[in-house]
């Protein structure tokens, strides 16, 4: 099985949310459903510099959709089998004809990927644009990014090119679900487990 995944360049990302909007347009999503969400993690403190104190602040963005995890938290809890990991590309997809809308997957996912659609009565989520991928195209979010801060490819390729980092604050430890992502950290990125910052845009995610 080829496991596809996302590359997220947090050193380039300006938090413009073009990826989120391109996805929303392509997938025709309601206002309260976002397959891709941009988390702004920010914080700061003061550093002694001789006789003065200098502000030491940080703020950076992480564009997170579904990480199509190697061990997804959403799949084992699903009672209907609607939430499944595709054997051909490793993408985690919800079968919207089977889903009963019990929201168990949303409770379990530590990335907020499964998104409940109240109008449709079932779960929806990022499917990695698998139909585009099958045609040799990239997901629509990746192609929309004006900063070229996103990429999508087989994980082997991404890891060879960009390394193995799959966790920075405020993401959970990668050991929980084995997310299929590679992150290039912002120069101000805080390590996973950090609690010195806060989510600066809670109403946007």
């Amino acid at each position: 099985m080829t496991q596809y995944g996302f590359y997220i360049d947090s050193s380039k990302c300006t938090g413009c949310k073009t990826c989120q909007l391109a996805c929303k347009d392509y997938k025709d999503l309601d206002v309260d459903v976002n397959y891709r969400r941009i988390y702004e993690y920010a914080g700061g403190s003061w550093q002694a510099d001789g006789d003065t104190w200098q502000p030491s602040i940080f703020s950076y963005y992480l564009s997170i959709a579904c990480n199509h995890c190697a061990a997804p938290a959403c799949v084992p809890v699903c009672p209907s089998g609607a939430m499944h990991k595709r054997s051909e590309d490793g993408l985690v997809v919800v079968d919207t004809d089977t889903c009963i809308g019990c929201k168990s997957c949303a409770m379990a996912c530590p990335y907020g990927a499964p998104q409940y659609n109240a109008r449709k009565g079932h779960m929806t989520k990022c499917d990695g644009c698998y139909e585009r991928v099958a045609e040799g195209l990239k997901p629509v979010c990746v192609e929309s990014c004006p900063l070229r801060a996103l990429d999508f490819a087989p994980m082997e390729e991404l890891r060879e090119r960009y390394g193995n980092l799959a966790e920075v604050a405020p993401l959970p430890s990668a050991s929980l679900t084995g997310p299929s992502i590679v992150i290039k950290p912002n120069r101000n990125a805080r390590p996973v487990g950090d609690t010195t910052g806060s989510l600066a845009n809670p109403k946007e995610v």
């Binding site: 993690y41 089998g81 089977t98 379990a108």
Partner: protein
Amino acid sequence: MGWHEFPLVIFTVLAQCAVGAFILLGALMLTGRLEGASLRRLNRPMLIIWILMGVAFAASTLHLGSPLRAPNALLRLGSSWLSNEIFLGSLFFALGGLFWLLTLLDKVSPLLRKVLLSIAMLLGVAFMYATIHVYMIPTVPTWNTPFTPLGFFLTSVMGGALLAQLLLSLSGQGQRLLAQLLPWLGALAIVVALGTSVAHAMSLAGIQSAIQSAVDLVPHYQSLLIIRLALLATVLALWLFALRSMRHQPLVLCASFVLLLAAEMLGRNLFYNLHMTAGL
């Protein structure tokens, strides 16, 4: 505090009380000291158990976005704890209900009925076990603690003992040994619930992700907890008072049970509001 999971609050609390009462009264029936007329007299008010189960399951479907697809919840039986919970709960409901009906109609041999009763009791235990596992999600640090099984178990013991007491009282069998032991069991469970609720509240201080702290999830958590504990203390007071006043015993026990449901539903709602993941 939101009430968005209220259908699940009703489902879990009512089912736990019903299973607890069924197992306690089932134990009494299995000991064989309940025969003929006295058995049927106790069996009749046990209909309340099945009404509670019916309301519980009806409420559970309200939790679903697509209630008409509810049967799909069984598709991952054996793999998903939610599938297991629904399956075991339905089977408990069906076999326990069948036992109740056969006893009511005095059909099939008492031995066969006892076998059915034993199976239903075991299914009740398995049902409760599955419910616990539904919420022991490794990525949800506020639920994946020993306080979850403990809290669910205590609801079963408190609610089950009080409901069993009420049903014994309704059938005029308040003098039985079990009826005299139930208040002790209930009192013990309520005292344990008081202690563990406080310990649980304190344990929340240690649970946080980069962007969420468990202590910030529910505004006025302590006040709401104190209301629940005060309700439980009132439940116990009414319960003990009911046993002393023979005249209105079922009525007072009924009031006590309603207050217990209120206390446990408040507590369960606090539980659902404490949901957070280890990440975003």
